[in-house]
Amino acid sequence: MALLPPPENWDKEKPSKDEKTWVYIALFSCFFMFFWMIGWHIFGKQNTSFVSYKVNPMEFFQLHSSFVEKYKIGEKNGVPVVKPPPESDVILLARMWSWSPILVLEKDKWYTFHISSLDLQHGFSLQPVNMNFQVVPGYDHVLKFKPTKEGEYSIICNEFCGIGHHLMIGKIIVIADGETPEKYLGEIKTEKNDFAEKGDFNPSGK
């Protein structure tokens, strides 16, 4: 009785058989869905990470600079192109409004990504596979990725980060055996040009 008090003995009434059946089916599917998530951690290949660190944005920026310096193979549209060895740590820096560097990865190899932001929150949205993770300043989001298919991938920012939010886009290139990144990126500028010393890189992001 939506508008009037229920009958005196409402708590003694037996529910009908059809409603009871439905409640049991619903309850069973709830438990099923819950244990499925745990099962996916054991058997599934896509899970969120158990590891993250607190990090000072300035320190993260320095990590990024030395990472870029170590593995840089060129530059595209002013963004360094970096090819880290498989199984290694990869530093990906988000800031208003760019992703750095462009990564060249090998297909079917694991990489440990460290993703963080210099300024605001950003969204790591890998397209077209459509994998999305939150990037929070002060936190190093550690994610182990294994690319399963070669190709050109975009990193879109999908957390609002100010007026230039929609201009923020980066690239990841996944190469199969025997392929070169040029296949996807075209010409890469290769003169030795130390990114970290360019001087127009303002870590405070203002």
Partner: protein, 557 residues
């Protein structure tokens, strides 16, 4: 102080009634603001139309979020809480002056927020994630609004206590008020979380403290942001029960189970803060799995119970009137009653679109393919718009004659309005969900990346869904404008209601017990059981599809 309603027989406290009216009227005013913003947003979000420049897009998005998601709904809910705790119980309003104080605090807060947004001093979107910072007046507005709403909720409890003490209810509340009680309890938890996080954020905006940890903010903010939607859920379901009762005399098949389902909300639904943190650093997968599932999906169980109980209440009443076939009860339902059609579209839309997608977005791993894509707003168009907003629109058709004592103008248009709005929003929600699956981000001005250093091309199938997005969006805007038009004209200029003979929208009393050959089958509601089985098949199909899509992505751990 009291007037006796010549239609329902309720004793109505006039001081409480004035508060119900003023809150409901301002709900509609803020709804209008939200809809105007929505019109521009639909036509800006389409990648080739771009009606607004980028800065205005983000500004209108902030404005739309606050007005649609908070002001419209909370003002209406406060009106609903006052209605459920005074009129329904034939009781008096505990403290009208405090009711007015709550109203002015909320109004002041809402105006302050809208003012700072329109001034361009709070382009931070609804979530205002630090270190993104707005003007301090914005946070002050949030606090004032939250305190006002909290006071309103406390007055609801006070009304219940007064009514109990004065013997207006004895052992159990009517189910509608019981559902509102659930909403009010959730609201207290929500609003207290709001105070916990917005007080330091306000101080930070003034420069008194130098930092708000962004991850802490996210955790506590979503203790407001998501549970606020669960207030809407509980209020919406209460309204569904009420409309079923008013329009066909529907009574829940089991008071016990329906109340248990509300209880499950109170116990578990506030864990949903986790829904927004599933791909965040700093919180562990164990925490995510437990919280996102509301402790083994026990709140989802509550919703699935209501999804059965409400159509079953309609079916049982209709069967007693002699409609025997599997779906005759539904075919012969009062579809010409705009409240009934609004309720039914709201129920089906909420279940099939909003609820099912919500479960899948809210799973720890499948969130990876949803987080911050357009599928997220697609999901909540399916819950809070087709669900809550449409349900509230439906019940308004009863409030106009019963509370405002006016006839509904253009009643024949009112019969079309729920369909126009409901189907429009359904199209909008489905297209946003599909676009989200194609990877299109939410809150993004230009997915063609015209001026960006690199390009990305989404699957060209998106153009079909963008067309659907605009068609659905525009018809929903028209449906909303039509509703506002009918409500405003009726309330302010409609002919005065003289008595029961002026009621256009029927109130149907519950049917008498079946006279001729009562059915002896143990299945009382075969039609609802069939419908819920179709729903279940859809739910499970969608469940496995999502895992299939997820398994096609890169490996990640």
């Amino acid at each position: 102080m009291f007037r006796k309603c010549d239609i329902t027989g309720f004793e109505v406290d006039k001081r409480g009634e004035a508060l119900i009216k003023v809150n409901a009227v301002f709900a509609v005013v803020f709804f209008l603001v939200a809809i105007i913003a929505a019109f521009f947003l639909v036509l800006t979000r389409h990648p080739t139309i771009h009606l607004l420049p980028p800065h205005l897009y983000y500004r209108f998005l902030t404005l739309h979020g606050w007005n649609a998601l908070l002001f419209w709904i909370i003002f209406f809910e406060i009106a609903g809480l006052y209605f459920g705790s005074t009129v329904v119980l034939n009781s008096r309003f505990s403290s009208p002056p405090l009711g007015w104080l709550a109203f002015f605090l909320m109004l002041g807060g809402a105006l302050l927020i809208n003012y700072t947004i329109l001034q361009g001093k709070a382009d931070v979107l609804f979530t205002s994630y630090p270190p993104l910072k707005a003007h301090w007046l914005y946070y002050l507005g949030v606090l004032l609004f939250a305190i006002g709403a909290l006071l309103g909720v406390i007055l609801f409890f006070a009304n219940l206590v007064v009514a109990k003490r004065e013997g207006k209810w004895q052992r159990s509340l009517p189910l509608f008020t019981f559902g509102l009680l659930t909403a009010a309890i959730i609201a207290i938890v929500t609003l207290v979380s709001g105070a916990i996080i917005f007080i330091p954020t306000f101080l930070w905006s003034l420069g008194i403290i130098d930092k708000v940890d962004p991850e802490n903010y996210r955790i506590i903010f979503w203790g407001v942001g998501h549970p606020a939607q669960q207030i809407n859920l509980a209020a919406m379901i209460s309204v569904w029960y009420l409309i079923s009762y008013l329009s066909v005399g529907g009574i829940t098949p089991s008071e016990k189970i329906s109340r248990l389902a509300f209880l499950l909300y109170i116990l578990f639904i506030n864990l949903a803060s986790a829904h927004h943190l599933l791909v965040d650093p700093a919180v562990s997968p164990a925490w995510k799995v437990f919280n996102t599932s509301y402790a083994m999906y026990l709140a989802v169980l509550g919703s699935m119970i209501h999804a059965y109980a409400i159509p079953a209440s309609v079916e049982l009443a209709q069967r007693k009137r002699g409609y025997r076939g599997l779906f005759t009860w539904l075919a012969k339902a009062p579809w010409g009653n705009p409240a009934f059609s609004a309720m039914f579209i709201s129920l089906v839309g909420f279940g099939f679109i909003g609820g099912v997608t919500g479960v899948m977005i809210g799973k720890e791993q499948t969130n990876i393919i949803h987080h911050n894509t357009l599928a997220v707003p697609g999901h909540f168009k399916g819950t809070v718009v087709i669900g809550t907003t449409l349900a509230f629109m439906g019940i308004t058709y009863y409030l106009i004659p019963l509370i405002f004592r006016r006839k509904i103008v253009f009643y024949s248009l009112a019969k079309v309005q729920p369909w126009l709005f409901g189907l429009g929003i359904a199209m909008l929600a489905i297209s946003m969900l599909a676009l989200g699956y194609l990877g299109v981000p939410r809150r993004h001005y230009d997915i063609l990346f015209s001026n960006a250093p690199f390009k990305h091309e989404f699957n060209p199938a998106m153009w079909f869904f963008w067309a659907l997005f605009v068609i659905g969006g525009i018809s929903a805007v028209l449906g909303a404008i039509l509703w506002i038009f009918i409500v405003v004209l009726s309330v302010f200029f409609g002919p005065k209601l003289k008595g029961p003979e002026d009621m256009q929208i029927p109130i149907v009393p519950p049917p008498q017990e079946e006279k001729r050959n009562p059915s002896h089958s143990s299945i009382l509601s075969p039609g609802t059981l069939t419908l819920i089985f179709i729903f279940f098949v859809w739910f499970m199909t969608y469940f496995f599809l999502n895992w299939k899509w997820l398994s096609a992505t890169w490996y990640v751990k």
